[in-house]
Amino acid sequence: MNHTNMEHLLDCIMDIGEQMLISGAEVHRAEDSLQRIFAAYGTKRTDVFIITSSMVVTIHTTDGKVFTQTRRITETAADYEKLHRLNELSRSICQSRCAPSEIRRQLDEINTGKTCPLWQEFICYAVIAAIFTMFFGGGIAETLTGFVIGALIRLMLLVCDRTVHNKIFAKFMSSMMATALAALAMHTGLIPTVDNVIIGNIMTMIPGIGLTNALKDLFVGDSIAGLLRTIEACITALAIAAGYFAVVFLAGGSIT
């Protein structure tokens, strides 16, 4: 493979890695895939360094040329259908060693794949909140309240996403809103206690994927990436707690 082609290849493979991280891959999965692909193309040496927000890859070709590229990852959105297809793509690249233009074409196809539509997300948030309110022992009225607040949480996350671009702050605001609305519902006599409704709504915001990935990365030796993710998940959990505390403080120490 000549030099322009090699550079083009590096560019495409970096994009695969980037999209993997965005759609929710563990860091060691992305590193593994990139290593394997470059090994399949017969590079002399490949150095891949990835953390949750940045990638650096240097390849040494057999004829002594060196190429480096970096990517900055700023957003993540769990999309496991996309990750599944990216995995398949990287596996098939290892087998076929196809040309960069072919990789680019398939990558574009994956990037335009169907994601979970917004209205479905609204329903999912509402149902999750309702179902976990019931799960923790809530009655009919509480379940229905949970349903409404769950949908409103998604709305709050959407509003925050469009205005402040800060996920931690979005979680804080949502938690605050959920607590305040639950307290309001109790004081108007709609529901007997706030506990189950708030727990059910907290379940929609818990950073489950983040923590699972953090644990996996930590164990397989990607300590930096694992720690970053652990801290991120802990701060998210703190933001949720802070939202609750803020409402209780404003209400003068008790919302019941």
């Binding site: 929710g24 394997r36 994927i209 996996k216 990607d222 959990a237």
Partner: protein, 160 residues
């Protein structure tokens, strides 16, 4: 089987479908996650009748469900993370976390401390269970992958 347990099993099933949809899981992967959630909560309820120790039960369920997810992930050739996360969501100590927060505002310090410690125990049991299986599958599948593809990767850990 008590009525609340049936409600809970139904709830985790629907919950798993919703979380799966949010993670954009499709077809068999979604079904595998839904079954995993039933497995995790059902096993937890069963264990509760035999062993009277919640953290231990959490650990056992986490190990079994993680194993299940790793196997399903290999069968469906997909990452294990979404399956294990959706399956273990009912075990997330959201309830005890909330009561820890709530007790923080009551003057009863011992109640708060007891709840905080129990939440921490449950969360660590869950984490340890996932870790144990990840460790195991890394040992097995890393070697297997190397043999299958003939590509040897440098280890990420420290080398002697």
């Amino acid at each position: 089987m008590k009525q609340i347990e049936i409600i809970q099993l139904g709830a985790v099933l629907i919950g798993a479908f919703c979380f799966g949809t949010l993670f954009n899981l499709k077809g068999k992967k979604l079904l595998a996650s839904a079954f995993g959630s039933i497995l995790s909560w059902g096993l937890f309820l069963l264990l509760g009748r035999v062993i009277d120790n919640e953290p231990v039960n959490y650990f056992i369920v986490a190990v079994v469900v993680s194993l299940y997810s790793e196997v399903m992930a290999r069968l469906l050739r997909t990452p294990a993370t979404p399956i294990v996360t959706t399956s273990l969501i009912p075990l997330i100590p959201g309830g005890s976390l909330y009561y820890t927060m709530a007790y923080a505002f009551e003057s009863d310090f011992s109640k708060f401390l007891a709840k905080a410690v129990s939440t921490l125990k449950l969360a660590s049991a869950l984490a340890l269970g996932i870790l144990a299986v990840t460790a195991l599958s890394q040992l097995i599948f890393r070697r297997w992958n190397t043999q299958r593809t003939g590509i040897k990767l440098r280890s990420t850990g420290s080398k002697k």
